[in-house]
Symmetry: C2
Subunit: 174 residues, 2 copies
DNA sequence: ATCATCTTTGACGTTTACGGAAGAGTATGG
DNA sequence: CCATACTCTTCCGTAAACGTCAAAGATGAT
């Protein structure tokens, strides 16, 4: 599954030269670039690969990792799921697995296996998507509520300040 | 700051008897009650105190912690911020610190010194509230965006399933 | 060929947020 | 007074998610 091995062309002018027809999988990026684009550290990226969040990247003849554009996107997604939703890597892995199933289904759909299998996959994928959507909704709800609180506080604070500024103090004199 | 030391009346009938006039700070709760009401563990609660999320609770003569109703509310808040918003304890601490500052300013305001002092306090409080609001807004924004993605995926997944169910395959025949 | 960077694989260290057990003391119904 | 249940502090352990060297090799530019 997944043919992805040491390619022949590692470097290929990274910075302006748009390769003419002939490339099959787009440009590949070295660790440094990916680090810059994702804001992650090399260690983190390697760790993600280690725990199976990414399929092992292809390598140069010397052993340097080469990431595809899809890898970069995946890493950005991972970071978002982590920081925005507070997902653990395990949860993220599950999420990505669902995505993979979705992609598989799309492919399988086109390559048509049997309907029962596809339905089974869909049925398993849906509740997970559902629960995640629910989780997002709940979080948005709570955050919105919290936001309202803070906004009200800010408003009151400003009102107070204005009152003081206009000399409209609670106790004018004694 | 904060007068809060070993009180004289620890037990005082916890479960039905509403104390008549005379209590100044409401009923105090033992660890077990707090645990039941918050769903937290004693260890976690002690840990929160240890890292300064709560001001150290008062104690019985023997050293048992006694929590106020405010403590319980705070613990519930902590749990919410943690599980629902995915805040780290550090972030929660910061949030609570802001709240404390706000409360302090409110007190100072009510105890009214001169107008200049009050204005100064308000001016210092505002940017903090502002940044908190901005943080929440950003989070809500990203979450909403993520939500849209998920909703779309779910919709597509359902569409696919329906297509399969109705036998509406891509290739009807060859 | 050579130097300055990068990258790799270990391997061990660190932080966060508690869990769990030990040993001792406290609270309380009977 | 006593048994039983709770609680205290202390200290060690842990799982997750990397951080941080170290030693060695790989790349790219000069």
């Amino acid at each position: 599954m997944h043919i992805k091995e040491t390619p022949a062309e590692p470097g290929h002018a990274p910075g302006g030269g748009i390769g003419f027809a002939g490339e099959l999988e787009g440009p590949l990026h070295r660790m440094e670039d990916v680090v810059k684009r994702t804001g992650l550290t090399p260690r983190a990226i390697r760790y993600y690969e280690e725990v199976g969040l990414l399929t092992a990247a292809s390598r140069t003849a010397g052993g340097f990792r080469l990431f595809t554009e899809a890898d970069v996107a995946l890493l950005q997604r991972i970071k978002e799921l982590q920081t925005l939703l507070g997902f653990s890597l395990a949860e993220i892995k599950e999420t990505l697995r669902i995505d993979a199933v979705r992609a598989e289904i799309r492919q399988a759909y086109e390559q048509a296996t049997d309907a029962r299998t596809r339905l089974g996959l869909l049925d398993r994928a849906e509740p997970v998507l559902h629960s995640q959507l629910a989780l997002i909704d709940e979080r948005v709800g709570r955050l919105t509520q919290l936001r309202t609180e803070y906004a009200e506080r800010l408003a009151r604070l400003r009102t107070l300040r204005e009152q003081i500024r206009t000399g409209d103090a609670t106790e004018p004199a004694r």
